[in-house]
């Protein structure tokens, strides 16, 4: 039995079924990310004065990732346009670019995550706090080495944009006997990092999911072009709508997490 309305529009909606389906799905996605954005707002306005981090993320890296995702959006729409103009070769080229850009985005995001997981806040027994990236943390050694700085007030760790002059990082050796608490900048560290990892992690999963679908359409799924090009073009359009939504979410995530 054939699935109805995969190509021709359904009389009552004026659309082929998959298009209605993807928009319903995207509507649910708006609510999913909306709930997380509202959590972000509550956490931010509920943070004590001076304790909401600023300048913790690398803006040039985030900007590059934004440009990567925007470029992947244009290659996606160009791939669909190539199908519409019956230029299968161009479709292949554009979607290959989309896949490469998706992988680039995930690689850059992984680099950022790695950077955060290598960052430690170490509370010493004398009350000082050592903050920086780990250089050596051999469990057999009686000390750890970080590249960072000492602060006496935790507040100094939060607003990195306001602090002047720019701090200098130096290699600090800390005996283990002086360490009271040692914690990575993971999602458990504070509410900012919790919502940062939740939002960007969920977004990255969407990027990976979208890339898998686009990869299927570029590879084995592209055989449909020979038997049913119109249906194939609709599939490309549907995957493209999802991809643009992923781009759209990042357009808000970038300023909210990196810039403001």
């Amino acid at each position: 039995m054939d699935i109805p309305y995969t190509v021709e529009p359904r009389p009552d909606t004026g659309l082929y079924n998959a298009k209605v389906g993807i928009w319903l799905f995207l509507a649910s996605e708006v609510m999913l990310f909306g709930a997380l954005f509202s959590s972000y707002i509550l956490l931010r306005v509920g943070a004590p004065e001076g304790y909401w981090p600023r300048g913790w993320l690398n803006v040039p890296v985030g900007t590059i990732n934004t440009l990567v995702l925007i470029t992947s959006s244009i290659t996606t729409v160009m791939a669909w346009a190539a199908c519409k103009m019956h230029q299968f070769g161009r479709f292949k080229v554009f979607h290959a670019c989309t896949l490469l850009l998706a992988m680039t985005f995930v690689c850059i995001k992984s680099y950022e995550y790695h950077d955060k997981f290598m960052h430690y806040e170490i509370t010493l027994t004398d009350g000082r706090i050592a903050d920086g990236h780990i250089v050596s943390n051999d469990p057999k050694a009686d000390h750890v080495v970080i590249s960072g700085r000492y602060v006496t007030d935790r507040k100094d760790l939060y607003d990195l944009e306001e602090r002047k002059p720019p701090h200098h990082h130096e290699e600090i050796t800390i005996p283990r006997s002086q360490i009271e608490k040692m914690e990575r900048y993971g999602p458990w560290h504070n509410t900012y990092l919790a919502i940062y990892f939740t939002l960007t992690g969920l977004h990255a999963l969407h990027v990976i999911g979208g890339a898998i679908v686009i990869g299927f359409l570029w590879g084995p799924g592209s055989k449909m072009w020979e038997t049913d090009p119109e249906r194939f073009t609709n599939r490309v359009e549907i995957s493209g709508l999802f991809w643009h939504f992923v781009d759209l979410v990042w357009i808000f995530l970038f300023p909210v997490l990196y810039l403001i």
Binding site: T13, G14, L15, K19, V20, W23, L24, A27, V30, M31, G34, A35, S38, I41, L42, V45, G46, P48, V59, T63, T66, L67, I70, T71, S73, I74, T76, V77, M78, A81, K84, M85, H86, G240, L241, H244, F245, D247, L248, I251, F252, F254, P255, V256, L259, I260
Partner: protein, 105 residues
């Protein structure tokens, strides 16, 4: 595809490119504006969100073709917008609404 339809599509492709350039420009403006001290930090937040809304309009309107979509999709999105705004309203109304005896630093 007829030559006329092909020409029409080429026109669309050109439009996609203009939108792409606008998005790139918008990204750079967003980053640049974040370094400008507008006096109060809330102004910086408002500027960043306004630019983000403009970019979102370009992506949704042109790349996702919402600018010329069927009524049914508009209806569906209107429902979504209502629920989204309701969610944000709940967020705002929850702000400052603490149970008694809550420690607020």
């Amino acid at each position: 595809m007829t030559a006329e339809a092909h020409e029409d599509f080429t026109h669309h492709v050109r439009r996609y490119l203009y939108v792409f350039y606008a998005l790139l420009f918008g990204t750079l403006v967003t980053v640049g504006a974040s370094y400008i001290p507008f006096g109060h930090h809330s102004v910086n937040i408002a500027v960043a969100l306004v630019i983000a809304c403009g970019k979102a309009f370009l992506v949704a309107g042109f790349f996702m073709h919402l600018i010329s979509e069927r009524k049914m999709i508009y209806g569906l999105l209107a429902f979504t917008a209502c629920f989204f705004l309701g969610l944000m309203f709940l967020t705002l109304s929850a702000y400052g609404d603490f149970p008694r005896m809550t420690v607020t630093h």
